[in-house]
Amino acid sequence: MSTALLRVTDLKKSYGAIQAVGGVSFEVRPGEIFGVIGPNGSGKTTLFNSMLGQITPDSGRIELKGDDVTKLGPLALNRRGVGRTFQTLQVFGKMTVRENLIVAAQEHHGTMWSRMFAPGDSGLGPKADALIDQFRIRHVADKKAGTLSYGQQKLVDIGMAFMSDPDLVLLDEPCAGVNPSLVGGLSSLLKELNQTRKGSFVVIEHNMDFVMDLCHRIMVMVEGRVMAIGTPAEIRGNKQVLDAYLGN
């Protein structure tokens, strides 16, 4: 009945007596960049881990393209078109940049047994090269990822999430550790990816300028609950949000 790509309904998760997420509901539309903000301890990470299959919520429902995926693990979610990045760098340091990108998508091609006899790049070399160009990291394409600068590794890390053409990418603090002078470039790159790849993103981030510039809609979480959902302009003008989180 709805066109939501991702729908989360009344999600709850407690750790002992502490309720980390207390009945969160929202939906992400196709092609949308959806931001999740909130102070530390507001339940963002628990929500994220639930959506990624890292933890099982106590109750509630998560739907992807209309299918119930509440109890699926990370592997099954990836196979259904969910990509992710991590807050900390998670590249494969001993592989080259190109190999990192290829391994990020190879399991989506053929069967396990056919991959045993497939060429080393699984036929993904041209696709990896296209992404390398889009991310402007051609000059380090054949270098081991572990030898690159933090900013370059961050780009590889993000690129890996997009290699399998996911419908939904969850980005966990993409600006964490990135030089402030590079944040604008990262925002432009993500907007470009959103336009060219037609995917939806969910972004957790503490950098408010970045979130306000990048996201179409933003959800504010406080103490495990949704305080507000709206466009960046609406969130900026929400007195409750200003008082509780953003300040003046």
Partner: protein, 331 residues
Amino acid sequence: MKKMQLALMAVAAAALLIAPNMLKSYGIYLLSYWLVYIIATMGLNLTVGYAGQKSLGHAAFFGIGAYTVAILMKAGVSFWLGLPAAALLCFAVGLVLGFPALRVQAIYLAFATLGFNTAIWLLMRNEEWLTGGTFGINNIARPELAGLSLEGNLAYYYFVLAVTVLLALLLWGLLRSPWGKAFTALRDNPIRAESLGVSVRSYTLLSFAIGAAYAGIAGALFASLVQFIEPAPFAVAASIMMYLMVVVGGPGYFWGPVLGAAVGVIVPEWLRDVPGVSDWYLPLFGAAVVVLMVWLPEGLLSIPDRIRARREAREASAARSAAAANVGAVT
């Protein structure tokens, strides 16, 4: 660099083909022994070096392979049926041993596999009706190949060499396929790997199973090489020695087992005849391993990579400095 590698491989191949003709019978036997350990440690290198699973039970598979061939041959079955049977049995048992690796990692996995090795060793020692117990199984014949006897040390050496080359090529192909990258991803970061669709479960089990199959083949060749087997070469100490061979050569380096097995098999025998050294070989070997773990934890073959990494780090640092003023561009 590639030309250099090809030249080195050509020299090594020529040496392996020619050298036995210049050696006495024991020297040829020793080279065959080395090749058998190369096969076993190639399998362990896949499990430990490429897939990152801490296995201290590899000698158990080596033993299962050896006893499978020996028992079958004593029952009148051909070596040529015993060899694949040993590989298949070890593959199946390796698959089963992989399951604990899905639940425990690192030192806990090492202890689980060590326990497995002990159980298999006790089985070999105590089930006398099947294995001969501590008396072992003797007079294990060497096979014939297309009417050609492999009974002599030189003939058997060339046979083992051919099997080693064939298995090395198979492993090389496997590691260059997408499976190779999946194993490496599993080793380096299983959580990230799974988030990219790499089935940690499947590749963990396969790394154990394939590694075990290599050990099984090595064990089968070992049985016919030494022609007498008993439980001692398949005890936990042998697993630790095999692990050490992989670590010394360089875990995750294709040629690591060649070097590691040479250090573990050839060097002790060579030093045995060096006056004043023979009594000190084991303490010296132990001290060398300690030094290696401190200075070269990734093994001897990591030396060129370390040099290259330092050079690249220097170049990258210089490049970043040069581009520092270029605001907005990701350096």
